[in-house]
């Protein structure tokens, strides 16, 4: 299978006061297209930091990360913004929608900022929203919608520009079991596309079975690389 992400000897330091504190240690990893990979581990072990780096939001300290064949190490800030715009879809625990914009407008942001004409962008966003059970909700503002519906807007925003990589941080943590499952089903569907890969950070053991592969982290290191059945069995 085609490699989506290759991580080699990755370290990450954060400056704290005057010192640097290392939070990721020598991470080595390959992630393929067409897979749904979950990243699990105790709080503070570095999951968010890792996906922030591989999605081009955070810079890295040592080693290199290649995403879709492009090295992130050498990229300048603006290049990274354009890289994210083209290749990454984000889904956050807090949804992070803009309260003044309608569902469709929120979902259309990645297209709008890439210069797609407004009507076209809104139409595209509306189509995706319709496909994930948001028909009739596209004109509403986020505060008029439930958490599950808001997360669907975020999913639509992550998909609207057709990125190859979808990165999710705790996408179901704020949702009840049923809504969480519905959201996971949508993400599972996306990951079945051979030209995409979905990476999900989660604590939610109810959704582990949606994964193809589960990476276990602890204290800034990857300590386990499991296929799903093994992992669930072990737990």
């Amino acid at each position: 299978m085609e490699t989506a992400i290759a991580i080699r000897h990755l370290d990450k330091d954060f400056p704290v006061d005057t010192k640097n504190v290392r939070v990721l240690f020598d991470i080595n990893l390959q992630i393929c297209m067409g897979e749904l990979t979950m990243l699990v581990g105790p709080s503070g072990c570095g999951k968010t930091t890792l996906i922030s780096i591989l999605s081009g939001i955070l810079s890295l300290t040592n080693g290199d990360v290649e995403v879709l064949g492009q090295s992130l190490k050498a990229m300048k800030d603006t290049q990274r913004v354009l890289f994210r715009r083209a290749n990454i879809g984000f889904i956050f625990q807090q949804y992070n929608l803009l309260p003044a914009l309608s569902s469709a407008e929120n979902a259309a942001i990645p297209l709008l900022c890439a210069g797609v004409p407004r009507t076209e962008a809104i139409e595209c966003a509306t189509n995706i929203l319709n496909n994930i059970g948001m028909r009739g909700q596209t004109e509403k503002l986020p505060h008029q919608l439930s958490g599950g519906q808001q997360q669907r807007i975020a999913i639509a925003r992550a998909l609207v520009h057709n990125p190859k990589i979808i990165v999710c941080d705790e996408p179901t943590a704020a949702l009840d079991a049923k809504t969480g499952t519905a959201v996971m089903e949508i993400l599972r569907e996306i990951a079945n596309d051979k030209n995409r890969t979905v990476i999900i950070v989660t604590h939610d053991n109810r959704v582990y079975h949606f994964a193809d592969r589960i990476l276990e982290m602890s204290d800034g290191r990857i300590i386990g690389d499991w296929n799903t059945d093994e992992f669930i069995h072990k737990e």
């Binding site: 939001i57 715009r85 984000f90 992070n96 803009l98 003044a100 942001i109 900022c113 941080d169």
Partner: protein, 379 residues
């Protein structure tokens, strides 16, 4: 992106109104105070600009200001007349005196005495009566506001009498003058009448008004007059500016207006900058999300500038509107008559507001540019 920026702005009405208020307030203070200041300066010169027939004003060297005239000896009139290049020269009296009001109280008035023969220096806008009547002894022309002040609640009419230094003068005409710096009633009389009713004094003439011969260079003529008489000779414009500069230098007026205008700018800038900063800081998470999903700093700059421009334009429009309204409402009050909103003031205010706004968003923008999109992953 632009419509997103606007929705963000209008999506938070309280803050939007706060921002607009700051700009409106600053605009109003600046435009209104500057206009009044300019109006006052124009009033200072209006007594000079009311006399259009003369080319050169000849007066004592010490005169710095149209309302504070040093008297000249009568002989200076013939001295000036004898300077080559002078077409004609006429006496002009300008000074304050006391009038007895119908109710027995006294009131300061501005008395203007104009040459009996030529009537040079006559009020340019006569509303009622025949100005030639002034040639008759013991007659006067009063300005409209002066009439309404002296005889309140009476319609404008001729034939009234006023009393100055025990002389009764018949009001035979009424005129309208541009507001002057002093707001006392204005009386026009003939130069001879002025001499009769004023307390006897050796020197009475205030100014000699001179018309240059055709083709004569005013600057050269001025020099010749000064050389011959030792007096100060100024063109209309020069005298007007000399008076204005005197006011600027010698009175607290510019300082007071300066302070008000400065405070307007300062407070307006403070309110606008602070509200804008809060607006941006409170929306930082939103800006971070946009950054994360691919909005560049340049696009964010455009968005913030759009928001600032809308706030600036709305606030400025309202502020100018209120200023115009103020001058419209007060157009008929004698204290504020003649004060108008000049386009130069509007343009200057607009430029200042633009600077305030740019200054306001400077700090906010720094914050946005430096913003680390990684905060989107944090709760």
């Amino acid at each position: 992106m632009i419509s997103m920026a606007l929705k963000m702005l209008f999506g938070d009405p309280a803050k939007y109104y706060g921002l607009v208020f700051g700009v409106t307030f600053a605009t109003l203070l600046m435009a209104q105070q500057t206009s009044i200041f300019i109006g006052l300066m124009a009033r200072t010169a209006s007594a000079i600009f009311a006399v259009n027939e003369a080319d050169i004003w000849v007066m004592d060297q010490r005169v710095r200001y149209v309302e504070e005239i040093e008297p000249l000896r009568d002989v200076e009139l013939s001295n000036v007349r004898s300077v080559p290049g002078v077409q004609w020269a006429v006496p002009f009296y300008k000074g304050l005196t006391t009038m007895r009001m119908p109710d027995g109280l006294t009131q300061q008035v501005q008395l203007i005495g104009i040459d009996d023969v030529s009537l040079v220096g006559m009020c340019p806008k006569v509303l009622m009566g025949d100005p030639l009547e002034l040639k008759k002894p013991q007659t006067a022309m009063i300005d409209k506001n002066g009439f309404l002040f002296t005889w309140p609640n009476q319609p404008l009419q001729l034939g009234k009498y006023i009393e100055i230094n025990d002389h009764r003068l018949k009001v035979d005409s009424i005129c309208e003058v541009a507001p002057t710096f002093l707001t006392f009633p204005i009386l026009y009389v003939s130069y001879n009448t002025a001499r009769e009713i004023l307390p006897p004094q050796r020197n009475q003439m205030s100014i000699v008004l001179v018309k240059a011969k055709k083709g004569e260079s005013l600057q050269a003529l001025k020099k010749r007059i000064t050389n011959k008489t030792g007096l100060q000779a100024l063109t209309q414009n020069e005298f007007a500016w000399r008076s204005i500069n005197y006011i600027l230098e010698r009175t607290g007026i510019p300082i007071n207006f300066g302070i008000t205008i400065f405070l307007g700018i300062l407070i307006g800038a403070a309110i606008t900058a602070q509200t804008f900063y809060i607006f941006v800081v409170e929306n930082l998470k939103q800006f971070a999300v946009m950054k994360a999903v691919g909005v560049t700093n340049r696009q964010l700059l455009k968005m913030v500038l759009t928001q600032a421009a809308v706030v600036g334009a709305t606030g400025y429009g309202l502020g100018i509107g209120f200023t115009a309204l103020f001058f419209k409402v007060t157009a008929n009050s004698p204290a504020l008559k003649g004060f108008v909103l000049l386009w130069q003031v509007m343009a200057g205010t607009a430029a200042t507001i633009a600077v305030i706004i740019l200054f306001s968003i400077l700090f906010s923008l720094r914050k946005v540019f430096k913003l680390d999109p990684a905060i989107v992953f944090r709760g």
